[in-house]
Assembly symmetry: C2
Homo-oligomer: 220 residues x 2
Amino acid sequence: MAAPHAVVLLSGGLDSATALAIAAGRGFVCHALSVDYGQRHVAELEAARQVAQAARAREHRIMRVDLAGIGGSALTDATLAVPETPTAGIPVTYVPARNTIMLSLALAWAEVLGAQDIFVGVNVLDSSGYPDFIAAFAALAGLATKAGVEGRPCRIHAPLIALTKGEIIREGTRLGVDYAQTVSCYQADEAGRACGRCDACRLRRAGFADAGLPDPTRYR
Amino acid sequence: MAAPHAVVLLSGGLDSATALAIAAGRGFVCHALSVDYGQRHVAELEAARQVAQAARAREHRIMRVDLAGIGGSALTDATLAVPETPTAGIPVTYVPARNTIMLSLALAWAEVLGAQDIFVGVNVLDSSGYPDFIAAFAALAGLATKAGVEGRPCRIHAPLIALTKGEIIREGTRLGVDYAQTVSCYQADEAGRACGRCDACRLRRAGFADAGLPDPTRYR
């Protein structure tokens, strides 16, 4: 029996690199998809390219969506500052409907490929609403595509959803992920080196400490 | 009280022009959104511009999404022919997950604008699954954005969903839509003139006949 194919959303960060390793570890032929929504941290896209190659993804595509034109996020709107202290509630680095848009693009590509599986590295620590969101997207996926209405809906896999950052890092390390390739920092420099101060850097550093593993992050 | 704002998906075709007129007629300040997913019929985008202006939309934005790169539709894949005879089932001109992607982009823009209403001109004659699809997207919308999780979910309006093509045309005509501006043809020329032979042209012509109104379509 031929190996099943999956579309894996790959941002270049730590979580999605782990989701890709898990999909590959489960035997899927992986098609990695990065979405360039006009974010500041283009270093992530280069990281995604390296991660996809290391995980032996069948291919890696970058789709460009012009979200920068509508503004509203510190990641896409150059007039908003990236915060360097923890903030309560939903952070300014939130991109409107980002996961919905990325999953929609993954769904479109999955249908073209004939793939019935999509992997996404979302985690409840980033939003407690993700389990409901993923369930709602899965329900939509069954109605949104030709394959879905013909009885072959896409499955939406969120294998990290209930893991702590430390557990994610331990699982990825076991599967051979080289986290030095990944970029989590919201304001990484062009070489992908992290600031060490933003919320994303703090969470990531705490994750390696929690996992009891050395932090391979390249700080500037 | 200030007028509410709405994002209206506007393809340049007959249905979405009518949906825009209905939104404006209900008192919404309309922000028209066209999505350029690499389709062949760029004449539609020029039609959308004219329709938005005629309906006094507050603004009209075109977001580009590079769906052509993944292929899979006669509308975005130049190697597939547009059919000129009616076909059974889901047509080859279907674009994978198109409505999901367009609604996702509308949702992102609505959140940035602080708009709580989205209008889309889908109709059950194009897919009997649209009512369930719209309900599923509305459920997702409540979980997908900051506004949604804070208790102000976007409402998804599909005012044409149960209308016949003739009823749509009568309603739009009553509201002042100039259908000569709209382009439905899958293979319109650069000036927006229709072929008169494809499925979309057939449906449109039958709609004007059903409405008992002259067909103002510009055929080549």
